[in-house]
Symmetry: C2
Subunit: 427 residues, 2 copies
């Protein structure tokens, strides 16, 4: 089964709206084992929409549209699709009743214009809209299928899960399952090189991705049953785990902060933060993870030097001589945060986010990080190489990821026993 996605709406062509439906539906269809080889966006124009649908049906047996089911005269998807399948629109009484009830709950009478939304193609399977007025539907003719869903994501998603998904499942003869192997500290090319022989595999496939300074491998298997996909995935994932070892922070974990907080929770180790360049971003990311309050209680943002001195006890002499962006300041910040918080660990970041150089002429992208448990102190120097006018966001994101990774490396490398101080846990 091949399905094309057609997104209808002039607002998409003008960029007024971010097309989140595209990602959502692509994922859902992939998980059903349905191939999506093309997606199109077209405006609220009946001739162009019809032409796009004809092209889509020349390549695929199923087309799924979103948008154009609203009450205004611009909304023409149903009319065009019904025309293409040579079906009449007829009033669907149950949908009309539901729409009236929808308005009644809000204490308003249904505007006359909305009645249009209850006229549906003859013989179509009607999809109820749990979060709005426009019903969706599915039509079949000569082995071709056309599904129409509303454009607003809340309405579309609920309708997809409740109605379109079970409808499509009847036609799907297999499933696709993926596992994401997430790494830190290795570049995309080096990662790909380490598994280069696996990248040519067919089932499961292995594909590398990179984003915001992280590299990831996705292993994807296609089979009849869940158990068969698992059996295909397991050995390949294990092989990759063996090759990439300590670079891997998790499999099917959404991000490094989640991996770090889970491990802190599992081992009941608390952490505090002292941030300059990232100014709260490390704390924010740790607390993005629900339940983080059990292992994270205190963060100090010391964006100016006098705060580094006052709240973290950084030596003013060092700030004067070596500037705020140096390893010694990073170490003293971490020590200060540990003292102030009483946490088991404290991690610190001081650096140059940019976009400008610092007063010593150093480029942005440079940061010093430290982590202390009171006995051991790990440090790390980061150089992102990003110095352009819009480097600030990227650098701050990478600095914060590196700080999270420093916690991860500590947790990976050290048990609960004390050991002599070490420098730089990273290869």
């Amino acid at each position: 089964m091949t399905c094309e996605l057609v997104f209808v709406g002039t607002e998409l062509l003008l960029g007024d709206i971010l097309n989140t439906n595209a990602q959502y539906l692509s994922r859902q269809l992939a998980a059903l084992g349905i191939s999506v080889l093309h997606q199109s966006v077209v405006g609220d124009n009946p001739e162009r929409l019809r032409a796009v649908l004809e092209t889509a049906f020349s390549r695929a047996d199923t087309v799924l549209t979103t948008g154009g089911l609203g009450p205004t005269k611009d909304d023409l998807t149903k009319e065009v699709c019904a025309g293409l399948f040579q079906k009449k629109l007829i009033l669907h009484e149950e949908s009309l009743r539901r729409m009236r009830a929808y308005f009644a709950v809000k204490g308003i009478e249904m505007p006359q214009t909305n009645e249009k939304q209850a006229w549906m193609p003859e013989g179509a399977v009607i999809f109820e809209n749990a979060n709005g007025t426009a019903p969706g539907c599915a039509m079949e003719k000569d082995g071709k299928r056309l599904l129409m869903l509303p454009g607003p994501p809340r309405e579309m998603k609920a309708m997809f899960e409740r109605s379109a998904l079970p409808y499509l499942q009847q036609f799907s003869d297999g499933m696709i399952r993926s596992r994401e192997i997430r790494t830190f500290g290795i570049g995309e090319s080096s990662m790909a090189q380490a598994v280069s022989d696996l990248l040519d595999r067919e089932n499961p496939t292995v594909a590398p991705y990179a984003k915001s300074g992280e590299a990831m491998l996705r292993v994807t298997a296609k089979a009849k049953t869940e158990a068969e996909t698992e059996a295909l995935l397991d050995p390949v994932v294990q092989e990759i785990e063996q090759r990439l070892g300590g670079y891997i922070y998790g499999v099917d974990v959404p991000n490094i902060e989640t991996a770090v907080v889970r491990e802190l929770l599992r081992r009941n180790i608390s952490v505090a933060t002292a941030e300059s360049a990232t100014a709260g971003l490390v704390a924010k990311r740790l607390t993005d993870v629900p339940g983080a309050s059990a292992v994270f209680g205190c963060g100090i943002v010391s964006y100016q030097n006098h705060i580094k001195e006052k709240l973290l006890g950084v030596d003013p002499q060092v700030l004067e001589t070596d500037s705020a962006v140096c390893e010694t300041v990073a170490v003293q910040m971490a020590q200060g945060a540990k003292r102030q918080s009483g946490a088991d660990l404290a991690v610190s970041v001081t650096g140059l986010a940019g976009p400008g150089k610092d007063d010593r002429g150093r480029d942005p992208g440079l940061a010093y990080l430290a982590l202390t448990d009171g006995t051991r102190t790990l440090t790390r120097t980061v150089c992102t190489g990003q110095t352009g006018p819009d480097c600030r966001d990227f650098n701050r994101t990478v600095f914060s990821s590196q700080a999270l990774d420093l916690i991860r490396c500590y947790l990976r490398d050290f048990g609960d026993t004390a050991s002599p101080a070490v420098k730089d846990c990273d290869a």
Copy 2:
């Protein structure tokens, strides 16, 4: 001039990636007065890509692609496009030099595989990549134009602004200019009602948008010259400013943090933060704005109660009796941050981000905010109404925006003179 957008990448078809490039480029081309009537997404497959390009050129004179310029064998956009235009790929020495320098900065030798990225279609205009390795380009043949940009948004955007935009501008014969009027504290419907008569205008058009608890109006004019668009925009923008008054935090300002930091800088007023539920997000957003270090030096993230007591001097009795989420704690947090930092103002947030209820059975979405200048204390209670399983992100974002808006309202309402303490600056 008609332009089609073709997004190349199997990761888009699988839903691995949200296609933010589509919205960005659609907006940019609309602003240039270039019509975009179709957009397509196609995978890393040479035959299908070629067919999509042929269809696109049957409808438009210009096609812009993103993606498929990477170093791996999957990346084939350049090869396919050059084939379509019957151009050879030749080594572009300058790009190769730039790529080698890019790696050198990071202290790594360029992998051999990357050299592929420096092979460009003969006669093409080369677009330098300020944020990565893959150069882009533009080709022309028989009145048809094909532009190729890289897929990663940071690389694509920088290249578009620096190179593709000036290239396209030569072919555009009119222009569209927009102004964005950004508000806080008024809902989308109330805002739209206040300007309802303006929403039917044709040139300039006025359109309302809402996102993450903020409402915005976009005023868009079409004309031959910049001066003419300005002349069309000015009176309408002024009219809206008059009607929405103090709700407006800025015109053509990217976000509320930028508006706040600019005003703090202009008036040389410093601020400190004390955060519980947002846990660093307010500090992070303030310091997203380059130059914030002149007015922001200190943030304290007190995610656990003992840190609220120790670092901010919050009364343990109040924490015990009224919990950490109440107005008194918010006020004491702000006072504590003011004391610790010595800043002119301090703002605080304590609340329930969710997803769970608190131990008193209160729903997430509730937060108490306070701001103090040592004399005046403003407070605000926020209730987002979002309690679902994925409410956490939204609630934290809204709480932090409200904290930023509390600073804005203080700056709006109070000059440099002392005045009696007031409660809640917001209507």
